[in-house]
């Protein structure tokens, strides 16, 4: 790396000398071209990614992106930004179905983004057309061809299945343990008070730091990843269940007893539904963490799984391969989130709409 920078610096010096000599030879003051000026700006650290000769390209890319956003929508160049939003909604108005219209907008946004990415990575002549070197950034087509490749070889199924299996099992086990522990400690108040600082302390340990030990204990197979996922999900669901149960208005429980409910009935018909919003919040936050646990374990030591695949491909500078792994992960999280959201919407159908929306918004932050 030091080598490269040195070489580059010396190259720049060479260019300077060349300018000087031409200047002296012709005897006239020569105004350097814009590109030459830009080339003299030192860019520490960046040269590998954005080399000087890409700089003009990146400017062009920016202008094209801005132009693209406006012209593809309004059919005119350089429309004032304030009109863009209005024009987008005007343009789409011929689609009557509101949901379909939104879908078309989103599809064109995604399509536009991918097209830009792809175009900028095309090679025309010796240089890339715009500025993005696919060696560093891949390109949609490369990602797709890699996807096809691993689909044909079958490894994508093994990796995706492994990660899903680890995350799912970790999630279910962690959630079950966490909820059960929450219920038990909510009942045993003294024990809960004794254990409180220890629980907080143990939960404070970063799981990345625990990973090496867990791998020694549980091996490099799926077990260590499941345990990692469990350790993350367990605390989240436990904390939420516990505080949810403790927060249930005692009047609600007392009144149920007055109306003839026995202890089991109070638990199932009053305490549980009253604490349900909190329990579900824990379950929702737990989803991405289950996957984080699995991936973390795979980064440490594994022979299969999406985390392994991402690390393996990036070690080989196969950026497209890593992107393929990221995209698969993205879809797994999306599907899992959707499932949990469905569960929540069903179980909390009694809640006022606004309240549910507010809670949902808060839980997305993790």
């Amino acid at each position: 790396m030091v080598d490269m920078i040195d070489k580059e610096a010396s190259g720049d010096k060479g260019a300077d000398e060349a300018i000087q000599t031409t200047h002296e030879a012709s005897g006239r003051v020569r105004i350097p071209k814009l590109g030459e000026i830009l080339l003299t700006i030192p860019l520490p650290g960046v040269p590998q990614l954005w080399r000087g000769d890409y700089l003009i390209g990146s400017l062009l890319l920016f202008l094209t992106a801005a132009g693209y956003m406006m012209c593809s929508v309004t059919g005119m160049f350089f429309h004032a930004i304030a009109f863009v939003d209005i024009s987008i909604s005007r343009t789409g108005r011929f689609i009557k179905n509101q949901k379909l219209r939104m879908f078309v907008y989103r599809a064109s946004f995604a399509g536009g983004f991918l097209a830009m990415w792809e175009l900028s990575a095309w090679e025309i002549g010796p240089k890339q057309w715009l500025c993005v070197d696919p060696f560093w950034f891949g390109s949609p087509l490369r990602v797709m061809s890699y996807m096809v490749e691993i689909t044909l070889s079958g490894s994508v199924f093994v990796d995706t299945w492994t990660t899903m299996y680890e995350a799912f099992l970790g999630y279910i086990l962690g959630a079950a343990l966490g909820i059960a522990l929450g219920f038990i400690l909510a009942r045993l108040e003294t024990l809960a008070e004794i254990l409180d600082p220890f629980i907080v302390a143990v939960n404070g340990i970063p799981r990345v730091a625990m990973a090496p030990i867990l791998i020694i204990w549980f091996g490099i197979g799926v077990e260590s990843k499941i345990v990692l996922a469990v350790s993350l999900v367990l605390f989240l669901t436990f904390m939420n269940t516990y505080s949810g149960l403790r927060g249930v208005d005692p009047n609600l429980k007392n009144l149920a007893q007055v109306m003839g409910a026995n202890e089991m009935q109070v638990l199932w018909k009053v305490t549980l539904p009253a604490a349900m919003p909190w329990i579900l919040t824990g379950l929702k936050i737990g989803v991405p963490f289950a996957i984080i646990g699995a991936i973390l374990g795979e980064f440490m030591a594994a022979s299969k799984g999406l985390g392994f695949m991402i690390q393996h491909t990036s070690n080989l500078f196969n950026i497209a391969g890593s992107f393929a792994g990221l995209i698969l992960l993205m879809f797994i999280v999306l599907i899992a989130n959707t499932a949990v959201n469905w569960l929540e919407r069903y179980l909390l159908r009694w809640r006022p709409k606004q309240q549910a929306a507010g809670e949902g918004g808060a839980t997305e932050v993790y």
Partner: protein
């Protein structure tokens, strides 16, 4: 016949934040089967605490409560309780809230819904059976709160300002309905209210409590013949007399309670 409920020397203190608060002090009262008792008294004098002791949610510091000659321990499910604020279950629809006590007793869904629907109809909530509590108005919730206790037919019904949050018209209509229900079922009712007119209109006996600590100040029989018409009762001569007498007592207590608060805040 022995009294259905008898309260003897009931005393309840609370300790909170280093302070000792006497909520109910040396209270004795006997309540006959089928009687309608109303309790009035200044705010904070211990009326709700008294009901909580009777139902078994609060353990008295000293004194006893006997129900049908048995000393009470813990919650007595023969006694129904309409709390001061409605604790409807937010995750249950109106009909399932009303049917909750029957569900707890293992009554099958068809029967309990039938019964709930009938009561819902009677208090004018028909059509809202499948609404959740947050979709009902305060008055509607309060009505649901009341019929939820009526549905399982407890021997004694305790009501803590059940018509408190209602407007005057709804209030008087519900008073009328309550009297009709009571006449049919002949339950024993203990009814707390701030409204002296309501207290006299409904009661066989009106209990006045002193300001804190809550003692029994007086018990007054109401000699207005039944069936009573709550819409016109306030123009009756007997009503006038009782009202004037009780109002005098209550005013003294409220005055004392206010003085107490002033002195309390000054010190």
């Amino acid at each position: 016949m022995p009294p259905i409920l008898s309260i003897k020397n009931l005393h309840k203190e609370f300790f909170s934040r280093g302070n000792r608060v006497i909520a109910v002090d040396d209270m004795s009262l006997e309540i006959e089967d089928g009687e309608f008792i109303t309790i009035v008294g200044p705010s904070g004098c211990g009326k709700s605490t008294l009901l909580n002791c009777i139902i078994g949610l609060v353990h008295p510091t000293s004194g006893t409560i006997t129900y049908k000659d048995k000393k009470l321990h813990g919650i007595n499910t023969d006694i129904g309780y309409v709390p001061q604020s409605d604790y409807l279950y937010a995750w249950r629809t109106l009909i399932n809230n009303v049917a909750f006590p029957l569900e707890m007793r293992g009554v099958d869904q068809k029967t309990r819904h039938e019964k709930a629907r009938e009561l819902i109809q009677r208090v004018g909530l028909a059509g809202f059976e499948d609404h959740y509590p947050h979709e009902l108005s305060g008055g509607m919730r309060q009505r649901a709160n009341i019929i939820r206790t009526l549905i399982y037919d407890p021997e004694v019904i305790l009501m803590d300002e059940p018509f408190g949050p209602l407007d005057a018209q709804t209030r008087i209509i519900l008073q009328d309905q309550l009297l009709k229900l009571w006449r049919e079922a002949r339950k024993t009712v203990i009814f707390i209210t701030h409204d002296l007119v309501e207290a006299i209109a409904l009661a066989d006996r009106v209990v006045v409590m002193t300001s804190r600590p809550g003692k029994l100040r007086s018990v007054t029989e109401v000699d207005i013949p039944r069936p009573r018409d709550v819409f016109t009762i306030h123009s009756k001569e007997e009503f006038r007399q009782t009202y004037d007498q009780l109002w005098q007592e209550l005013r003294e207590e409220v005055q004392r309670s206010e003085d107490w608060m002033k002195n309390g805040s000054a010190s």
